[in-house]
Symmetry: D2
Subunit: 204 residues, 4 copies
Amino acid sequence: MFLLATLKHKRGGGEFSHTETLCELVVENLRENGVRSEIVTLVEYDIPPGTKSNMGKGDEWPMILKKVLAADILVFATPIWWGNHSSLMQRAIERLDELHNELRDTGKSRLTNKVGGIVITGEEDGEQHITGSISNFMLSIGVTLPPMCAVSYQGAYTRATKKSLARKFREEKQTASAAESMARNLAFFARLLVENRIPEGKSG
Amino acid sequence: MFLLATLKHKRGGGEFSHTETLCELVVENLRENGVRSEIVTLVEYDIPPGTKSNMGKGDEWPMILKKVLAADILVFATPIWWGNHSSLMQRAIERLDELHNELRDTGKSRLTNKVGGIVITGEEDGEQHITGSISNFMLSIGVTLPPMCAVSYQGAYTRATKKSLARKFREEKQTASAAESMARNLAFFARLLVENRIPEGKSG
Amino acid sequence: MFLLATLKHKRGGGEFSHTETLCELVVENLRENGVRSEIVTLVEYDIPPGTKSNMGKGDEWPMILKKVLAADILVFATPIWWGNHSSLMQRAIERLDELHNELRDTGKSRLTNKVGGIVITGEEDGEQHITGSISNFMLSIGVTLPPMCAVSYQGAYTRATKKSLARKFREEKQTASAAESMARNLAFFARLLVENRIPEGKSG
Amino acid sequence: MFLLATLKHKRGGGEFSHTETLCELVVENLRENGVRSEIVTLVEYDIPPGTKSNMGKGDEWPMILKKVLAADILVFATPIWWGNHSSLMQRAIERLDELHNELRDTGKSRLTNKVGGIVITGEEDGEQHITGSISNFMLSIGVTLPPMCAVSYQGAYTRATKKSLARKFREEKQTASAAESMARNLAFFARLLVENRIPEGKSG
């Protein structure tokens, strides 16, 4: 299950999302490993600011949270803006904060036994920094991170089409191979944790 | 001029913003240095995702941008969520991106000769990291940063009232003195740059 | 196997290392999970700057690297200095860079199937940022990160003795419980990966 | 005055430092603004770990510190290793920590009225993150940061010579123009602060 935090709105027409295009390569690789995926594009939903799982009337986050909780694999996908993940990625992190309060109070996380991945694209520098920020959050909230669970692509492609960019990702050995390793490791760990649940502490 | 990126909505009643309370201490110190301030609370406005100065119908950012461009001093004020500035602070940064494109293309920034400051509060760890992220952005886009231009406060005050927290800030020597130095330096540099404009490059 | 990057030299007498003291709590918890540990204190060794596994005459890193490669669990332990891990932690990361070149060239990491953990202490702010930086490195180089694999402690204890600090760590529920979860998860994943090797890619 | 934190040792022969080459471009631009510079290459000195200005016998940092204190402009120059500044840059930051203790205790910094700049090169991603980290440190310790005070270059130049890389920097509009703006702003602010000293607080 992918939380895609592109700033580009489909209804806005025009531009396509580089991040979505890279997600699709990972989805394809996951499929080859027997994993079905869904991409939730955050910009299409009304997700008000806040740190609770449900911020009340009109809030569409609870529906997304249900999918997060049902998934075995959780991928955060974001463009880079000024060295950081997008405001929509940060919004999702803030809205997941209540789950961390639960973990702190009970010692149990509703995200235990889930496996995490990261997809990043940008014109700008910042991929490793963002991988770090997201990893810190995911680990703290109970998610397991397999080796090489992140894929990124940096470059300015003002004249690229969705099709030409998708082809580029497949042809560049480094990107294609990173997506392949990522998908293989996500699938391997997801199965491992379905069969071997992480033991809980005494009290938490 | 303060861009306040608290997640707490006044209309939501209940909770007060710690970040706003710390901003007010800086505002008070700026007043003693002869500087008038205005705090714009981002959560009260409709600021859609995007990287343009104007994202069209219903977008309230252009009005805020006008105030940003008119000010001599620009303070970014944010709570800490998972080691990063809030999604609303990131939103403001994304919406300022078009100004950076202008700078890249023309060599001139509409933020030149402005002086920057930073206000951070949080229960959590992350103040230095956020100061770094915001500094990187501000410097890149043409803002000058005086020494000790940031003030922060970390602590969990579940039972604090706005009044008791404001008193706490004033009484804790470290916070009070950081706010004082920050305001003194912001005021000094703002005047210095009014009287001594930064020279422009040949071509940019 | 712990790489301890404190700046405090035992031969220097006087001060004890807070980071070492926190490592010892984790070692104790690992022992309860049937895991034997060794702490290597980097400041005691001559580790010249460079990015190769062996920098030649007088270099004591190759000996440490041997222990890194032999271990099932790898813990990076560092104090915080100005929001970052110490220069000695960074030195170790730089010296591990050649292993990453190997991974890039062959698709195989000599650190695959190892499990990683993080220990941080500081007077200063920065724990989440450092957890992120180290996580990014560990994941990139082939290490698996279990949930809650980091423990940290922030506070200024100018009058603490090693004994009083060790007691403090044990008595503060949050620290004690973080060390316990960390050790339990490190032990669980280390065993899991001994029995279930991560599959390799076709070509890498 | 440049603190150059390359890992490449001249005595080691062979490789030249990309970071040093970029520093030289800035030095040249500073000269055109009437500023004389000196580059201190940290790897050539014996700088033991620690957080004091003088760590005793054999410590060569005190000599470097004297130059830091005498300079009007202070440039931190570092390669990128795993998204962070080098261990030698971090070492210099740690060794400057005692100056910050002074500032905290007396309210006065011996670095006040100095102007800061940043030079970064790397094969890897991380320039904005490092600019942020160094900015946070410089601002906290009393240094002023002018707009666009950082220049960076990312790229893998395995077959470059020092001469070809220097030419490349001069020919790439973006790098050449960033070095030019940086030098112009450093020189402008250094003179401004020689003529207009930053006012001190009452008590500090």
